[in-house]
Symmetry: C2
Subunit: 778 residues, 2 copies
């Protein structure tokens, strides 16, 4: 039975409700807004990776006609300038020293952007340069300078799981997970494999750069922002600037891509402080390059060691992952805590010891990015699995299937048992590249990978659904539409529960003044968690509507059914609008439904709320002359429980896979002596339409086994995790070259091909030295 048999709208690929608005340019983003008397801002950024600020002179800048205000550290005396979602380690402007190239040191607001830029250029700052830490290795070396001497806890933002903080040797955060006896496990193993994998710094590259407009007066703060987390921004600004939550208004219209880069707090505290100084609204629209110097994904080095029986049974694992979290913690602690389980893979392993460290360096702060901690860890785990399979002479698919966790089994003690049929998904992905044919043309290879991630979807959302007097419906839910299609899917849920066409439902943007609380848009949580709140609100509304109709039609409410916008009791019919009007005795009135989700409430209380699963399979062709990899087929499979909108699910999953293709083949933000080399979209290559695989296929696994409405679960991130290992595994199968560092650029592949013995695998070094690169760096 398909979803369509049970539901009228759920399971249907209705067109995006914001599609036409966006393709015609009618949709408004933050940068499209005009606030009366608004000034434009330009940020003065540090040119040094690490330096003391000796003096700041704004006198010349202030003399420029048209300048409204220059914000410096001197303007932050009366507020708490520190912010941070895990640790409050970051001031909104550098105070005594700068810690990365691009860090804001001052900001100018002027009547137009050109004057603001000129004013910014006239701010004179004297620095005293300090030794800088470009890499995790440097940061952890004995005698390295300490980047943060004191850090404030994030207090209330320690949400639901404590984040352990330790700054020994610039370690921002450490996370540890252990089970069984690892030493004994390795001793019992027939073979032990140990490798090191490296993952580059990559950027979110959203089409819309970070943008915010702030207005501050004695009554509070109003902020229009491209933020994906308006309610968390509200709380942070309230804490910093000393207002109650009710006096901080955060408005988020459409957002042009987020991918984690607009999570938590980015430019908002700075823009608010500047507007406060200026006494007028201030707008900051960053350039794409500035946004690349605002946040990025953690680069990583992973040492992974696995003991196996000769038959391929996994016995023990030890893994150590170092995440380069950059100059400030941002979401590093949470990325570290999420990466831990990802390093286990979705496999039975009796003995394990996992350690993940987020380490401060003098680089751009790293934070959330699609599947936090996932690509870095799964890149290592799933490459490693193929290396083991090859050494043991096992088929990589069979090897994985034999070790996979089954439904109901636990990945780690006390967590939600596995709620998916992982084997089904992996078989599906394999079948999509015709895995079992095994006939390889020269230069062609197949590769597989899968990932299981706990996205840490927080089970807290609220929603309001209002039925107006003509039967039209307004949905007020705080999910940010970042391009993922949330408004469409949430509207589908409302329309489903109220038995109306989707055109009847309008969902608008977030305005914390009037939109009820949602924890955040991210962690693949919106359809599952907010969807549950929205559904509860719609059901609450339907109940009131049915009771109103019972009163009007003079029948018992349990005799009334809803269908096609009508309330029906036998021969009696009443359309919704008429029911509202009659209930209120006039042409107006409305009914208000509300829904809450909280731990232990409407959703199953086990955490994580759901496991997010993604499988990938690659069929590649390698050009042995140039080292270029061409994806002939890439298949991505997501276990979604049930797809409310299959087309949107597929788009999400393919979008995630394409992002994965980016870090697999092209993307890397390079540093040289603390200076970023390529923070622009000319020198930093994101995939274009030319880079899409010849056959780009996606499939959804739908077993209605998720915790959300109708059996759904979160998706949209997992497509990113399997691409790199699947492609590297295919490359190894095709050429024998095993590459352990991304991206798989033509140069890197070409060099590896030169080193590999043609026709055989480049076997893993048994125990590579800890920090030794596994092949040449570009």
């Amino acid at each position: 039975m398909s979803a369509g048999d049970l539901h009228t709208l759920v399971g249907k690929s209705v067109p995006r409700i914001d599609g036409i608005e966006k393709v015609t340019g009618a949709a408004r983003f933050t940068g499209d807004l005009v606030i009366p008397d608004m000034l434009d801002a330009k940020v003065v950024r540090s040119p040094y990776p690490h330096a003391l600020i000796e003096s700041i002179d704004v006198s010349e800048a202030m003399r420029l006609p048209g300048v409204g205000a220059i914000l410096t550290r001197d303007d932050l005396q009366d507020i708490n300038p520190y912010y941070g979602n895990c640790l409050r380690d970051r001031p909104l402007l550098a105070l005594d020293r700068v810690r990365f190239v691009g860090e804001p040191v001052a900001a100018a607001a002027a009547i137009d952007k050109t004057i603001a830029e000129e004013a910014a250029s006239l701010v004179k700052i004297r620095y005293r340069e300090l030794a800088s830490l470009s890499t995790v290795g440097e940061a952890m070396a004995e005698g390295a300078p300490v980047l943060h001497e004191k850090i404030f806890g994030a207090g209330e933002h320690h949400e639901m799981e404590s984040v352990k903080a330790g700054r020994r040797k610039n370690i921002c955060h450490e996370e540890h997970l252990e089970r069984g006896e690892v030493g004994k496990g390795f001793a019992e193993s027939d073979e032990v494999f140990e490798e090191v994998y490296e993952f580059p710094m990559v950027c979110h590259s959203s089409m819309e750069p970070h943008t915010a407009i702030a207005s501050v007066d004695r009554y509070g703060i109003t902020l229009w922002s491209s933020s994906a987390h308006p309610f968390l921004v509200r709380a942070e600004l309230a804490q910093m600037f000393g207002f109650p939550l009710s006096k901080v208004r955060v408005v988020v219209p459409y957002v042009g891509g987020a991918f984690g880069g607009k999570s938590y707090f980015k430019i908002e505290p700075l823009v608010v402080a500047l507007a406060r100084k200026a006494g007028r609204p201030v707008r900051l629209i960053q350039s794409g390059s500035e946004s690349m110097l605002t946040n990025r994904r953690h680069s990583a080095r992973c040492r992974i060691k696995t003991g196996v029986k000769r038959d391929g049974t996994l016995v023990a694992r030890e893994a150590e992952l170092f995440l380069d979290t950059g100059a400030y913690a941002d979401n590093g602690p949470r990325v570290a805590s999420r990466a831990v389980t990802r390093l286990l893979g979705p496999y039975h392993i009796r003995h394990y010891r996992i350690n993940v460290s987020a380490v401060y360096t003098n680089t751009v702060p790293a934070g959330s990015m699609r599947s936090i901690g996932g690509p870095q860890s799964i890149w290592a785990v799933e490459s490693h699995m193929d290396v083991i399979a090859e050494r043991l002479g096992l088929d990589p698919l069979e090897f994985r299937l034999n070790n996979l966790l089954r439904r109901g089994e636990e990945l780690k003690p006390g967590g939600r048992p596995i709620d998916a049929d992982l084997a089904q998904g992996l078989e599906k992905a394999a079948s999509m590249v015709d895995w079992r044919r095994r006939s390889r043309a020269p230069g062609r290879g197949l590769g597989l990978a899968l990932g299981l991630t706990d996205s840490e979807a927080m089970p807290v959302s609220t929603a309001i659904v209002r039925l107006l007097a003509d039967g039209s419906i307004l949905l007020n839910a705080g999910t940010t539409e970042v391009g993922q299609g949330a408004r469409t899917v949430l509207s589908q849920i409302v329309a489903e529960e109220l038995y109306v066409p989707i055109e009847r439902v309008t969902m608008h943007g977030t305005d914390t003044l009037v939109t009820p609380f949602d924890r955040s848009t991210g962690a693949s949580r919106s359809t599952t968690v907010m969807g549950t709140a929205v559904r509860a609100a719609a059901i609450d509304l339907r109940k009131q509507l049915t009771e109103a109709a019972a009163e009007i039609l003079k029948v018992s409410s349990d005799r009334i059914v809803c269908r096609d916008g009508e309330l029906i009791a036998g021969e009696k019919r009443l359309d919704y609008g008429k029911a509202v009007r009659t209930f209120f005795g006039m042409s107006g009135g409305e009914l208000i439904g509300r829904g809450y989700v909280r731990p232990g409430g409407a959703l199953d209380s086990a955490l994580p709320v759901f496991w997010e699963t993604g499988m990938g399979a690659a069929d590649i062709e390698v050009d042995s002359e140039t080292g270029e990899i061409r994806l002939k087929t890439y298949a991505t499979v997501a276990d979604v429980g049930l797809a409310i909108n299959p087309q949107q699910c597929e788009s999400q999953d393919e979008g995630a896979a394409l992002m994965g293709i980016g870090h697999t083949l092209f993307e890397s933000l390079h540093y040289d002596s603390g200076q970023p080399i390529n923070p622009n979209l000319i020198d930093y290559h994101v995939p274009t339409v030319a880079d899409i695989p010849d056959n780009f296929e996606s499939a959804l696994i739908e077993n209605r086994d998720g915790p959300g409405p109708y059996g759904i679960k979160g998706m949209g991130e997992s497509g990113v995790v399997s691409v790199a290992p699947a492609v590297a595994n295919a490359l190894a199968q095709a050429t024998g070259a095993r590459i352990r560092e991304l991206p798989l650029t033509p140069e890197r592949v070409w060099r590896a091909l030169k080193r590999a013995r043609p026709g055989s695998f480049d076997t893993a070094p048994a125990k590579p030295a800890r920090n030794e690169p596994t092949e040449d760096h570009p």
Copy 2:
């Protein structure tokens, strides 16, 4: 026991929550907003009172650089151009003919206001003038041209009481009320008095003229407006332009005075049509003069005839009121229907026959204005009462007291019984001018009057109250803050019910996209009706909060009390913010309370929802040389049931009385041959601070006998009704001169003094001829 003994905030004159914001200029009104790409508009208005439009040529105007669009009747083909809250008799632009000087015929939108004005001046319109109807007399004469040949019913806007329409002899609407046998009543009377009173056209003179900004696209309409009735505007625009309610967004920030002049629909349909044509947002800020040509109070002529026993017992009344409703119905039918009961006074009269007609003329449309139909009818009734008392040799106070309706008695069959102690209020007003001293200095006189009005407060409101995770509270209620202090009073109710300081509560402006339905701001209804919805929402919230605390504290919810923002159960205490955070298991979350008011719901179901009562007493001094009247003391008394904020109630009542002083002494919009003579604030005199009475006193009657929360009832309009008769009665007492036409300008008083025999009353003519003026016109 005072209110303060029972309540913590109700009954306290807390400062206005929007006070500082307004006096510092921080408050934003519609005209302060800037919408991206916005054009400015200028309306082309008819110079003729009545004419056919032969042609409109916009070609030259369109050639002017910077012009975005010129709207004419040709642009209205695909919509329903007619609007109206009682009758849909008005097109948003004149179609075939114009019906008053100032009627919009075209509108220009351009990149700035200067260009828009020039473009408007270049629109060439050829008119063919028609005979015009300047007065009700002309409009009802045999052979008069018919102003409206066809009128569409207002359909859904026929709210709760049908409005009977008849256009015979340009009669827009007639309302009739009859009881007993009037002929028999007059026959049984010892004396019969008949007089004619006239009331001028007066203007609202709000500080903020009508202003609106509209944006229209395929997705719907967004309108920012100075409207007092955003939800009715939404419904009207949806009907005219063919959108569902959910696609019409009406945003109302602060409004700078309304007084009925911003009720229902004024410039909004025109601005929306112009924005639709322009394809860009369009702003129209009218001048003060334009707003005077947009709406006004009905001028009136009232013939009143009363039969009395020699002891002063009222026996029979016949009254006929003709209201000049101008060129379009606007709220004329409702004004007529409300005036009917006002002509009975709050007195026992066994036999009566009342007829009220709203008549079309070629003048500015008349609509709602503070106490609709009240000043016109009570001017006649309460002057007439003094004339009768004088003739019968009775004290005007005793005469009134002897005939007053008592609590629980009916004014008209089937309506709400009198819910006030009218005698108490009248005695109070009399005592404030030391009525019983009766010693008169030369040129000094005392006068009394009172009015009982059914404001037709519609009992339909909804509200949302949200408790945030730090214990701060957001109130989302659709009452428009027009200067009356609604946000303060409604916030007091929330704070009272939730046991928090008022600073914890924030109430914001209306945005129909997110603000739940309220019928309207007017009819003195907001504190009583919306207050009931707000209180219900707060109680609903408190219930959820208590249940959450019961779960957290592990006690029964009936053991929990709320006090000072805390939930207390014995020794256990939990502040509200902590309760929310614990309930949701994180630093966020919120609880959402909702409240509804509907007929038969939380408010007593009898209509009117309440009787609004106002008493006035004047002590005046007349300068016999100049005819100037000086108010030595004016005392205004309102029966408010209970004052939630006594200072605001007094301000409201004094503001209403000052508005009454305007039409009593100064105000009149004059027409000459269909041309308005003084539509500007130079030639049209509104009271200034210099015109405030030497002693300006107000008192509130508080018997907790209203239907609203804590026993409140509506107020704020009734102060306007008693001023004119009280002053005219004092003038007659002081000088013997009885004037039956307002305003009591020095010239008119001087002429009356010349005619009156010094030292005695100018007794009423026994039966003045129907349309004969009772004294010289200025």
